[in-house]
Subunit: 577 residues, 2 copies
Amino acid sequence: MPVLQPIVNIAELLVQQGITDVVVSPGSRSAPLTLAVARHPRLRVRVMADERSAGFVALGMAQQSRRAVAVICTSGSAVYNLAPAVVEAYFQQVPLLLLTADRPHEWLYQQDGQTIDQPRLFGAHVKRSYDLPADYTHADARWFIERSINEAILFSQQTPAGPVHVNVPLREPFYPAADEAFRYEPVRTIDWLRTEATLPAEIWHRLLTEWERSERTLIVVGQHPPDPALLTVLQQISDELGVPVVGEITSNLPRNDLFITQTDTLLAGLTPDVAEALRPNLLITLGNSVLTRNLKTFLRQYPARQHWHLTENPDRLTDAFQSLTTLIPVSPRLFLEKLFADLDYQRFLQGDDDDDSEGFAFRQHWQRADRQARRLVQQTVFGPDVPFTDWSATARVLEALPANSVLHLANSMPVRYANLCGVDARQQISVYANRGVSGIDGCLSTAVGAALQTDRLVTLLTGDVAFFYDRNALWSAPVPPNLRVVLLNNDSGHIFRMIDGPSRQPELETYFETPHGYTAQRTAADASLSYRACDNVDELASLLPDFFLPGDQAKLVEIKTDKLANQHQFATYKASF
Amino acid sequence: MPVLQPIVNIAELLVQQGITDVVVSPGSRSAPLTLAVARHPRLRVRVMADERSAGFVALGMAQQSRRAVAVICTSGSAVYNLAPAVVEAYFQQVPLLLLTADRPHEWLYQQDGQTIDQPRLFGAHVKRSYDLPADYTHADARWFIERSINEAILFSQQTPAGPVHVNVPLREPFYPAADEAFRYEPVRTIDWLRTEATLPAEIWHRLLTEWERSERTLIVVGQHPPDPALLTVLQQISDELGVPVVGEITSNLPRNDLFITQTDTLLAGLTPDVAEALRPNLLITLGNSVLTRNLKTFLRQYPARQHWHLTENPDRLTDAFQSLTTLIPVSPRLFLEKLFADLDYQRFLQGDDDDDSEGFAFRQHWQRADRQARRLVQQTVFGPDVPFTDWSATARVLEALPANSVLHLANSMPVRYANLCGVDARQQISVYANRGVSGIDGCLSTAVGAALQTDRLVTLLTGDVAFFYDRNALWSAPVPPNLRVVLLNNDSGHIFRMIDGPSRQPELETYFETPHGYTAQRTAADASLSYRACDNVDELASLLPDFFLPGDQAKLVEIKTDKLANQHQFATYKASF
């Protein structure tokens, strides 16, 4: 057996456990892992030189596939460069398998190159850390490697999914000798069966009773990947039980006649009267973080008497609105489906059809406010004499998105502008944003990862700071031709101009916005992206149809707007409340 | 007192404790820290949008000033982006004060934005971690902040210097109200006196006896910042006591008639006979990591009977050559100065002048080998019919460096090529390289930081992968006009072609070298750098004089070489042993 055979076998284990994709950053210490995955006929391997990008590319791929993507890097600071993506994946609950090469530990603190204290490097921001042995002569060491890789993959994918770190100390020689056979041995896979948590009957009936007692129930959906089955049951509950369902663009709750999506606008400048009218008795939440500050503030200031949070396999009390009364640790979708089925059956038995109950009135109240908010947004972005701004451009781009495509929203302003607009249900857009920890550091790489993993068109809406920060996303691999980058270039970190505090400081431009004067033209040319620029609405309208056509090249459109126009539009909008 | 006054006072404490420079990345959570330092008339504040670059820029500044540089960033993944620079600073022993804004801890795991588990985030890779309170009403909380900042600054600068992390949870509001006075209160500084460790007389005399008993003593200097006093005593010891002193370009040991600097070449292909002739009885080491693999291997394979390692305030047994017998925990310079003084005095008393002792013969043996090695390198890079390669270009660039300038060497091939050449003592070059953990991730940013901190010309010699990886170094701040970037662009991670293992693999180009096709022309244009390119020796020779002239703009020269020529030259060189 070649010395590194247990490492070579890791590639076979990945395949047997259903992993299809690996992102590799070049390195010599990591070469045994790289060769093992590169030579495996059933693994697709992408190479990204910048580990920070590599991590986010893997995140974007795993978001699409809903399966763990493996990431391989060499030892030393390379590993730390994965950390921004790791922490985003942890809080966004996306499975990643981090295979980091290391020197054997006896070399730590011995002035040896690229040697840092790697085991448990990601601390609390991975679901679990493994540290493989550097010597494989004892059978137990090989058993440990095989068992750990099985566990790491399966555990990363269990709900809540997340990153798992496997540190891999490796001794030289890293490369097979010229006469050395290279083959994968049969490996032992271990299956870890999936379960469904259900509530005991007495608890279930208690909840049903409480549900029926509440006449003002509100469902709020935080960030959530696209889930048609969840959408169906939410529609049924809202439509047939008269419950308002509130969501955001990052909840993948589209704009339709039923859902409340203009939350940021409708909850702005709330008077106590209106707030009381919108206040639920029973709040049910699911999904990850809520984007809209107005929604968070409303739910905290006007807490429901009862707040149920639905989440599978929690290990904490997440109390985002400071009103939690009941943690319901089951699959939100299964819970809601059973709830709807039971209530629907009851209604059938009772011949009940009380669409004019207080519940329906409550829903209508929310829906009316939503429609009003939508009109205000429409006027703000499409009204007469509206200048060409980031927000107006965003609205037009969203309306032009091809049906059934993927939308990535960068932090920090683009995701907010897009949320203010929403996307129409008929467009069937799948929406993603790095709202786990809301950094700007990997938005472009994440979109590149998505485009590598899907055949659908992937459009990233990004500001200039997030774009240039992460431009190494475009450097290494061929940029996938189904990527579209819509770059709102206002030459600075514009969010600081939009929020109250910094915009009043004399340091605004120098220390917060940091204008750089860059356009993306040269970056696009370096990366062989088709490039167009525009600075008015007619140009934008005329180039979008072509822009969204499929082609053999990724495309970038740079939308240049004026910071004062942006600021003025937003201030006028805010003053209207 | 404004609520955030204790945070504002941190800026005053920095100044009182001698900190002059701060690198800030924009953020809202960090705004109180940013405003506090930006408004202080005695702090120079630089803004870098990419935190990864910000960390390395601060490292480059602190290398020059030998004082802690403060780094401020916002909460969330921003903090993790500092980590690559933090771990490099830790192992390179450069003082940094990391002030990371945080949400108050009660918001952790509550689906709130940019909230991660920040306290102790850098684990073992900072000297110490502090976590400030979020509430300041109790006097003890204010006492804790003041005392901790004092301690953090002083402790970061104590030998061995290194990064210290101060996590700063901050409650809203972050910005002073319009009518709020902004001022710095008087702060209490605490002084922590410096000591010098000395050896008790009986130990000292035992060492002196052992020194005198050894007739084959070798001094090896690892990575070390420029230190004229150290150089002086090393010259005296070598010259007058006949001890060979071995160093590398990163030791800041220049090429002169005395020092042994061609180690990589002279120890290549060593026969056992020659190795025995070069083997010391007593090895004395100082400084950080050794660059040259041949030197490490030689010292491990032919261990001295005694190995003394000189290092101030160690907390571990660092045994890089697996031969350590005695850790001498005192300042290497003071030890060597006292050693030389005592021995010199003894020689004076004894009228001793035995230049023909075995010690001098041993030194001459090393020096002869060094001169031979130097001739071989000269032939390889300057001989007739030598192609235009990275190595040859490096040699010409090093010879053309302006006197008294600063040289930064990027990982991984440039630092090796430069070490093979060395720099002449008459040029008085100060040499830096990120050999703490030897990453490519921040070499450009570190050089930018150096150029911001010194008026001397700073030349970075870099390969293309390290250059593009870290190009955000050029994005935010105006690039300092005293920066010169010499870019060896062979369109890939060339080191993999040079080392034995990967160059034999069919995966060499795709998974290791990763050619990208980029030239730096557009990057230079975006960053307003003067740009020249060349692909032959005459062009290079003709443009270097202008390139090194002072000017009002940073300059970049892109040297394009052929990978096969590089590989061939290196292979021929290696085959000559």
